[in-house]
Amino acid sequence: MNANPIPQHAVDRLKGLRNANHPGGIFTSDFSVNEFLLVRKAGFEPVGLCLGSCIYHVGIQYALWNSSREMEVLSQAMYSARELAMSRMREEAQSMGADGVIGVRLEVKRMEWNAHVLEFVAIGTGVVHATGHQGFKGVKGQPFTSDLSGQDFWTLLHAGYRPLEMVMGSCVYHVARQGALKSMANVGRNVELTNFSQALYDAREIAMERMQHEALQAGAEGVVGVDLHEGSHAWQPHIIEFFAVGTAVKPITTEQDASIIPDPQLVLSVNS
């Protein structure tokens, strides 16, 4: 007799006896097997893949070649297009009764035929709490969103936090080309180009400030998994988008005492 027999219902399912009458229908998810197991271990069940897409015409904004400034029209486009895709994904999650969406991937695709047209896609797996606990909902009772994987979701809950919302900040910045006269003065010298330094510094700073502001609005205690990207979406060479993204988190009920957080053991994985 096998020590760990396959449960009867799983055997039945494999035989095709129950698949026609499964009460909750079927789910689809881009979870891996490990992710699925850990999400389940965390007390959640996937309900379905949620998707939001937005094809956006990004407006045009010119900057003088010698001036550094934020391209606020582009910042706004990049932000609202992502926000639209995210809110459509959230709506889909809500319509399927999900408590949240995890493993969200936020992607930007450029259309070959028009450099101003970008597609923004948000895809993630909607999950529900297995016993219907309502305390995991996000901001204003809406489904929470998070770019954390199933594994990270499990770990986050064990660290005493729950995800609230994916927060982001975008800043598209035009970095001035330095004036020719000024460049001449620099021949043969090592100098800090303060106009470049401050432009790049400021752009990252603005992106982070905006993300922090979003987290504050969401009532978060902090933002985990912060990532700073730079990208130039086929704009002129001196226009760069700085994009900050992360998952805003909040302590589960009141903050857990650190002593009850399990200390991870040192292990050596032997399966890879």
Partner: protein, 302 residues
């Protein structure tokens, strides 16, 4: 939808950008940071604003259970034009970025900066490079704010692990080397021949640069502790063609690591268990120390 209420270029926004730049200019000239940066950082330190961390939930878990708290994501940027010397310019750029990174950490009353990574934005302007360091400032419970918080390249999880094992991370060691090689490129690159052959001149040249940078880092590390771990690096070789088949090759290599202070044969306070790992993409090779720290083969991170 966020805080944008505009759709057309807004003259006021342009004005605000200019004002912010003026503040930056004044601040950088006085070797300090603008008020709005201080506001974001001290807001996070006091708990009025949310904290921001590059760490994963696993790292958050370890931090919390070890009495360490994330405060804010901190950066240091310096764009440098090296008209005089690539060598000194390159080192100076990274060192200035590191100094600004530490300054931000001080503003948020942190004790350390973990997970320090190198980034660059390619401006496409000759003899110019943007040097940026990004990391997460952390506070250790029960410690007063440090006047000169240490910066380390190790991740948060490894930072806690080191402390737990009685190994003290004490700072950042930087090693850099830059060199020109002149020669006729046919002989340097072996172009006349269709044979397999090692390019000895170029190979020795590049190897020499790497060795020099490593030894530079070792010296820098020796001043601070007795080991340098967790290297992050950036290297590239450029070619400039000259007259009569002559060419100049510029190779530059910079390497940073976390300096540790540890006793000889100090015991590790944990048993090691073997397990089946539930992470995806848990690639054994990827877990080797030389590969976990980003190098220059990925876009964005260098």
């Amino acid at each position: 939808m966020g805080f944008f209420g505009i759709t057309r270029p807004d003259p006021a926004a342009g004005q605000r950008s200019l004002e912010r730049q003026a503040v930056w200019q004044q601040a950088l000239a006085q070797n300090r940071l603008p008020g709005f940066v201080a506001e974001r950082l001290s807001g996070a330190a006091s708990g009025k604003m949310p904290w921001m961390a590059t760490m994963t939930p696993a790292e958050l878990l370890v931090m919390r259970s070890h009495g360490i708290r994330p405060v804010a994501t901190v950066t240091g940027t310096c764009a440098l034009h090296y008209g005089f010397s690539w060598t000194r310019g390159h080192a100076e750029g990274w060192r200035t970025a590191a100094a600004r990174l530490v300054e931000e950490a001080e503003l948020c009353q942190a004790n350390a900066i973990v997970d320090v990574k190198m980034r660059t934005a390619h401006l496409g302007v000759g003899s110019t490079m943007d040097y940026t360091l990004v990391g997460t400032a952390v506070k250790v419970e029960g410690l007063p704010p440090s006047t000169n918080p240490i910066a380390v390249t190790v991740s948060t999880i490894e930072f806690a692990r080191l402390l737990e094992a009685g190994i003290v991370p004490v700072g950042l060691a930087i090693g850099a080397a830059y060199q020109w090689l002149q020669g006729d490129w046919y002989s340097v690159e072996g172009s006349w021949s269709g044979d397999n052959q090692p390019l000895t001149r170029l190979g020795e040249f590049w190897e020499g640069i790497r060795r020099e940078a490593l030894s530079d880092m070792r010296i820098d590390g020796h001043r601070q502790g007795n080991g340098v771990l967790a290297h992050i690096q950036f290297g590239e070789m450029l070619k400039r063609e000259g007259d009569q088949n002559m060419a100049s090759y510029l190779a530059r290599y910079i390497i940073m690591g976390t300096v540790i202070d540890t006793q000889d044969r100090h015991p590790v306070p944990h048993d090691i268990r073997t397990v089946v790992d539930m992470r995806d993409n848990a690639d054994l090779l990827g877990a080797l120390p030389r590969n976990i720290y980003p190098t220059d083969n990925e876009e964005g991170a260098i």
